[in-house]
Symmetry: C6
Subunit: 203 residues, 6 copies
């Protein structure tokens, strides 16, 4: 049965985020994990799913367009869960579940600096997120602080939540030297931070 049996990380408020990292092969069934994300989002999280996407770059001839970027990984976070999917290249039919999940209107997909990502997802992969929100833009308007629109995850969280970010900084400042569990922890922390930013803004 599907479960988030990867490492469990403690956040600065004492709560835990359960993670699951999956190397998606041609026969991997990711739908049970997506269902758990949706369930936690509906029952514990105001129907928000925090997402982030990661890209590979294939090299580009001068003058060619965006097609050099292909989606390599996806992160989905709720209050309690963090799912990290490493995607195959090219995609297999089982990724249709991911397409359908992103197209769903049951939940709101919340991200940071996602404008370019939404363009690339649509252009390069035909992937459409119908209900996506740029949380920084909302924060800037809600708080009347222009700057919030332009910040990355860490700085945005810093200015909205004022929580301790030293663990995140210590991993990300030495990224190349870190192993996969540290990197997963950073991903989980970032997802959890944005979940809490959204939670504060939507109160």
């Amino acid at each position: 049965m599907a479960s988030f049996d990867g490492p469990k990380f403690q956040m600065t408020d004492g709560s835990y985020v359960q993670t699951k990292a999956i190397d998606v092969g041609s026969s991997t069934d990711i739908s049970p994990y997506l269902s758990l994300i949706r369930e936690d989002s509906i029952l514990n999280g105001n129907r928000a799913v925090i997402f982030d996407v990661y890209w590979d770059v294939a090299f580009l001839e001068t003058g060619t367009k965006k097609s050099g970027w292909s989606l390599s990984s996806v992160k989905l976070s709720t209050r309690n869960l963090c799912l990290f999917l490493r995607l195959p290249n090219p995609f297999h039919d089982n990724l249709k579940d991911l397409y359908r999940f992103f197209a769903s209107k049951f939940v709101t997909f919340v991200g940071v600096q996602i404008e370019e990502d939404l363009d690339l997802l649509r252009e390069n992969h035909g992937l459409v997120i119908r209900n996506a929100i740029e949380v920084g833009k909302l924060a800037a308007k809600a708080r009347g602080t222009l700057l919030l629109e332009y910040l990355g995850t860490r700085e945005l969280a810093h200015r909205v939540l004022w929580s301790d970010l030293s663990r995140l900084d210590s991993i990300e400042s030495k990224w190349e030297e870190k192993g996969s569990e540290d990197r997963l922890e950073a991903a989980a922390i970032e997802g959890w931070l944005i979940f809490n930013v959204w939670d504060q803004l939507s109160e």
Copy 2:
């Protein structure tokens, strides 16, 4: 004679929504049902028709465009009725009635997070809705609450109507385990909720 003889669901205010789900074949005549929707909209609903659309994804080569999405179902709701049409692939000539219905200016088509849908309908199917409104955007302006623009159906209804949404949550959080009648009920509830959101906003 055409009638909404599918399941009847009770809403939280005690009223009932009569439903009809149709598998549209090449010779199905959907126009009598569309006429009933229009009639109920004109006589009982300020000429609003709540709509939602559902998509199939065919797999996409890297770099190809939107054409991977095709319209699989359409939901149309009024105060008292909910019509759910499962569409064939490819479309047959009898779907021209649906095209004409959506192009009509007799009614206003009201939906949630429909921007992407309107684009895909036009691009992939040449389907044009001349009088469509994104209800969240209107709610955000009318109520002066920025956040309303970005929410899905459930959260939007929650913040405008404050009605009991536990039945909807219980179905949608366990979507994969639910049968077609439960899913039809969720569709009917969502349509009814947005009808009431619109009704409040347009008073």
Copy 3:
């Protein structure tokens, strides 16, 4: 000699609208009727001509664009007149008169929810209206009521004029059962309503 010798309909204020419905063939000369519309617009109507357009849909392959829509009819209304033109397919040279009429700056062309129409007219038929106005948008700003921008003809007229709309509702709610004279009456009523909305807004 050209005259509006079709049915004459009484409006709710007691005035009459004279109508003319024409099946435009390859040798029909529509210019005298257009001249009468312009003359009434200049002499009795602040140089406004209310217009509406109606579309046929030819079936569309998945992935094809807008070209499935072709203009089938045009309605032009002034304070006293209503001209309804049923157009041939394809167009003949005598329709150039209609193109020139729509391109004229002598009058302002006033319509409801016309954004999609203007796009389709230009894209599919190369027809350009140089001086067109979306009356709902203007009403919304002039009255400070956001909602007016999003309504159809009937609801817009209802909220600006507060006149009795039962005749219109009774025809449009049973549209399929109505004959061509009833439908022409509904067209005349809608044109007259928007003329009066414009008249109130432009005072």
Copy 4:
């Protein structure tokens, strides 16, 4: 020597507008007339030239684009002069003078409802007006009267100048029955009206 030796029309303030209508052939030298327009604009008119353009429509196949419209005439007005150019089809090399005149930044080209015209001029003829202004938009903002943006020449002049427009109305309401001198007078009146609207707004 070039002179405006066409009919001279009296305006409602007693002043006269001198006109010149030219059928531009392949060897017609229009540059002396353009120079006189520029000179009057610089010396007597705050460097404004009022312009209007007129189009021929060639018939269009369904689905083809804007190319059906070609520029047939141009009107240029200053305080005292009105030049009306009937253009050949296709254009000859001597029309380069007109292209250069329109591209000049010495003067401001002022028109009513010109957005579509500017698009068509650029798309269909490569003609660029670098310093053009839509006078209705400016009037709407300057006077705080939203409606002014959407009006044609006559109604705009009516609401800004309140001058007697009966002569214009009498010609334009019976346009088909009028001869070329009456039509030239209407063109001269319209140019003079917009000159005065601009003059009032730019004070």
Copy 5:
């Protein structure tokens, strides 16, 4: 050695502008003149360079696009200098210096009604100005006078500086009768005027 050894013109405040007009051939080295412009801009002019561009029109078939316009001359002005470059057709490799100069961020390029120019420069010549400013738009906002956005050089200067413009008017109203030195003087005056407009606005 490069020097501005063309005519020296006195401005209305008594100061002089030194000019240089160059017919750029395939082996002309324009870089020393560009360096002098940059130096004067940095040392005496708040790093502003006033620019204007002039176009030739090659004749256009109906339906063809912008490519009929090619850049024929460029004017660059600072507080004390005015450089007028007449460009060859086609361009030679030595014009790369001009491309690099315009792409520089060391200075701000200031112009009047330049929107169309920037488009044509990019479309027809691949020439990019990374730091360009439309001075009329800025003046309109800074002074709260809407009209300033729409004016040409002379009228803009008139309303911001109130200096004596009779010399400029006398040249430009009789443009065809003027020789090249008079025209160079008009170019120098216009550059100097906009320099002073910018100088006032940036205080």
Copy 6:
């Protein structure tokens, strides 16, 4: 081991910026230097990286598009470091590290007048900066001074920081006569200035 062992320049506040200029060949490993930039940005600079890009122009036929510009150099600055990369043409696979660095959301990329640069980077090289900010636009809004949006680096720094810019002016006004170390110093000063502008604005 990678270190910033190029010239060290003293800024006007007494602090030093350590530089490194690299001619990137096909086997140069730039990733350690990018890691140091990121580390300094995270630990000492609010996760901001100041960037600037430099272009080569290959000559353009009339009518061809942007492809004439290719990226020749990149500058990356933090509080203490300045990295200057001279890029090969065409690019080698080792530049993927630069693409990934620019696509990262760990930091915010801050630049001046970068709109054209972002377009060219994407169009000509497929290079995407997901989290970029135009600092002048932010400064204009934050300070309520419209003009700041339109200035270059030097003028922007002048009006926000009021620091002594004579060293920068003396290099840039005589750019052609300066050697590579002076030019590197100017690059370092400009990066340091914008870092401080950002630092002030983000407080």
